[in-house]
């Protein structure tokens, strides 16, 4: 495994940064075999932002665990730069739905904890921590404890902790799911800015369709029982990252219909139009 901070250049261009090939995963729940993932194929390119949407139980979080290397008991192949994922590494980091900050450490120390295994000097670590707290706009809160932060601030610290190792992959497991609607919108913009700034490749798991469309370069739609990829929709340049743009709404509706959500509102509108004609 290459060093966590040095961005490895090997294999770039030729193979994909992340290649998931024919991955299946079974769980045994109460003595019964449950197929969590079935024949997943997905390739992610360097610098891409991929959104994965699906209802709960479609295996999207399981897929992230496999990419992280937390679970290596699966069929198929997951490769980063052509190397099979066998264990967690600092080249892949994650933001969980709950911030998972350690309550006994202050903000600074929580972010610095991610650098324990980086092999960097104390001075280098301090600088990285400062830079990343600045990036998420929490310079003033370096000495605060998690209990003193709002949910949105705590999640920003978690984002800083995930990025401080300068990972190649940022895995986001419904990172904004526990936040209130306004904070979520604000953090979506922030997440977009930060990921662009860092040039990280990102995989976002969410059940918020708007979020998936707003942040993703591609949208992977998954269906449950067994967890499988239904389709992959590209987010074209025409969808201008404007939530009220007609193209944005069209794409969002397409995603919703893939997820089996009937567009009753639109149908009713069409019906009304037909009648009045």
């Amino acid at each position: 495994m290459s060093g966590p901070v040095a961005i490895s250049a090997k294999g770039r261009g030729k193979s994909h940064a992340l290649e998931i090939t024919d991955v299946s995963k079974k769980f045994s729940v109460a003595g019964r075999q449950v197929q969590a993932l079935s024949h997943i194929h997905l390739a992610v390119d360097e610098g891409e932002f991929v959104s994965i949407v699906g209802s709960s139980g479609c295996g999207k979080s399981t897929l992230l665990r496999l990419v992280l290397g937390l679970d290596t008991d699966y069929d198929g192949d997951i490769r980063v730069d052509g190397h099979r994922v066998e264990r967690p590494g600092l080249d892949r980091s994650i933001v969980f739905q709950e911030h998972r900050l350690l309550p006994w450490l202050n903000v600074e120390a929580n972010v610095a904890a991610a650098l324990r295994q980086s092999g960097l000097s104390a001075a280098e670590r301090g600088e990285l921590v400062r830079d990343h707290l600045h990036l998420v706009g929490l310079d003033q809160f370096a000495k605060a404890h998690p209990a003193q932060l709002s949910g949105g601030m705590a999640q920003r610290v978690a984002i800083a902790r995930a990025l401080v190792t300068k990972p190649r992959f940022l895995l986001l497991d419904e990172p904004l799911g526990a936040l209130d609607a306004l904070t979520r919108l604000r953090l979506q913009d922030e997440l977009q800015r930060i990921v662009r700034h860092e040039g990280t490749t990102a995989v976002l798991v969410t059940h918020d369709v708007d979020e998936a469309v707003y942040l993703g370069d591609r949208i992977v739609i998954m269906h449950p029982h067994p967890g499988r990829i239904a389709t992959v929709l590209p987010v074209t340049a025409a969808v201008s990252r404007d939530r009220s743009d007609p193209n944005f709404i069209r794409l969002r509706d397409e995603v919703l219909s893939w997820l089996g959500v009937s567009r009753t509102g639109n149908d009713a509108g069409a019906e009304l139009a037909r009648r009045s004609a």
Binding site: L70, G89, E98, R100, L102, P103, W104, L105, Q117, A147
Partner: protein, 274 residues
């Protein structure tokens, strides 16, 4: 504490014209002392009303006079120090062993499986059941006493440390895996600080248990300088004032230990309160 004061203060300004609230404020602070003061008053009443035989229940002032005499000629003071020293040595030995073993069991599934059942059986044995065994193995002298006190401190620290470490949430263990923590980082950054509240609970109990065991050892094992020794003396020579003085002293030391433990806990676990 500060909350109560603020609430009280607010009430003060609102109802200043109606009732004399300073009384209530004082009453609030004195409330914890009400029962002890009442008990002392009943004691005095019984001693002076001629209800109780003064040989069995000397008056409060007789006990206080005995205390003044004892401490002025450094009689009981020396004994108190001897007991405290014994207590402290046993407490430190027992709790260091308890925390060490508790961490080992909490970290290692293998050690937990090997030692867990034995320790659960050990927990069922009343502390004082060890006295005959200890006196045979270590003698009734200083060594035996310290071993007994250490055993008293060992049990609560072991159980609490063990539970504290094994109670670290799965999500934090997963975080440690993601951050590629080794054994040492996991212990230092996650497990020990996470288990600290429980470890303190264990130490707090150990402090009280060890003090109880100190007197127990002094009463049950060989007579030596110490509060227990003086209690033996009080019993043998029918010096009820000395006996009662020792009981009050034991309680007082226990209360002081409690306050110290609470303050240390507060200082180290500040992150929980904020």
């Amino acid at each position: 504490m500060s909350l109560i004061t603020i609430a009280g203060g607010e009430r003060l300004s609102r109802s200043a014209s109606i009732a004399p609230p300073p009384f209530r404020l004082i009453g609030r602070h004195l409330r914890p002392l009400a029962v002890p003061i009442a008990l002392l008053a009943i004691w005095e009443l019984l001693a002076h009303a001629g209800v109780a035989d003064p040989r069995f229940l000397p008056s409060l002032e007789a006990v206080v006079a005995r205390g003044v005499a004892e401490f002025s000629r450094s009689g009981l003071g020396v004994n108190l120090l001897a007991s405290l020293k014994r207590d402290l040595i046993g407490f430190v030995c027992g709790s260091v062993a308890g925390i060490g073993l508790g961490l080992a069991i909490g970290f290692s599934r293998l050690i937990e499986r090997l030692l867990g059942p034995v320790l659960l059986v050990h927990r069922q044995i009343a502390l004082f059941a060890w006295v005959p065994l200890i006196s045979m193995w270590f003698g009734g002298g200083e060594a035996g006493k310290v071993v007994f006190i250490a055993l008293a401190a060992f049990q609560p620290t072991l159980i609490n440390t063990w539970q504290g470490v094994s109670g670290i949430p799965r999500s934090y263990r997963e975080l440690a895996d993601v951050l590629t923590f080794g054994w040492f980082d996991f212990a230092r950054i996650i497990a020990i600080p996470g288990a600290l509240p429980q470890i303190f609970t264990g130490l707090h109990s150990a402090l009280i248990y060890a003090w109880t065991a100190t007197v127990g050892a002094e009463l049950l094992l060989n007579i030596a300088p110490g509060i227990g020794g003086r209690m033996n003396e009080g019993q043998q020579l029918f010096h009820m004032d000395l006996l009662l003085l020792c009981v009050l002293l034991l309680g007082g030391v226990g209360v002081i230990f409690n306050v110290i433990a609470g303050a240390v806990e507060h200082r180290f676990l500040r992150w929980r309160i904020r």
